[in-house]
Amino acid sequence: MKKEFINDERDTSQRRKVGSEAGQLLMLGLLLSILVQQYAFNAPFAQYAAEFICFFGASLYILVRNLALGNDFLTRREKSKKWLIISSLVGGLTMTVLMSLTNYAQYGDKHNFFSLSGTIVIFFITSTTLMFLGFSSIYALNKKRQIKIAKKLDEEENDLG
């Protein structure tokens, strides 16, 4: 009897999972490396430029590939508005903490309570707004691509052949 070769899906899926986990760990390591060098060691940008480029390059690749494939990678179905607001707030808060730490490290001696509070509030408003605009743009692009795919699927669905 002729032996039929089939793809061992369990094996393939586990190999992909291991690869994906390694990728995620690498991204986390790069991010930690950037943050530690920037904030703990106060290193110049040139020292962590390679990690910076790798991390943001990989992030951009993930974003562009998912957008091109039309994957619903930003939101989970109908909770898009809630997701946009929460992500913007979390992103804005993270940026505020990082920018405030940098600002305090550089100009801490010139700040009093009111100027520091004012700076933090301005940082929070600008970073949250920027995050919201960024996420909204990505969300709009994602939706646009999904509508294009849906049109193609409509054509195929109506094609009875």
Binding site: G70, D72, I149, A150, L153, E156, E157
Partner: protein, 66 residues
């Protein structure tokens, strides 16, 4: 290879791809790709589709080898 039997079964139930996708809990793109033969669903997904369309696995997914 296109899965015309699944498409016909879905149309018999008067369902759109979007309706079936919602019942099964996947995206419409996934249903479209299964029907056009561009994606091999897992056994779990096949079973969910069969349950949603009141069909057996044989009726939708079995292919006789010639």
């Amino acid at each position: 290879m296109k899965n015309k039997r699944m498409k016909i079964a879905r149309m018999e139930q008067d369902m759109k791809q979007e309706d079936l996708a919602k019942i099964v809990g996947v995206t419409r793109q996934t249903i479209g790709m299964i029907e056009s033969g561009n994606y091999n669903p897992t056994l779990n997904l096949c079973i969910s589709i069969c349950r949603a369309l009141n069909k057996t696995l044989d009726e939708l997914f079995w292919e006789d080898q010639q």
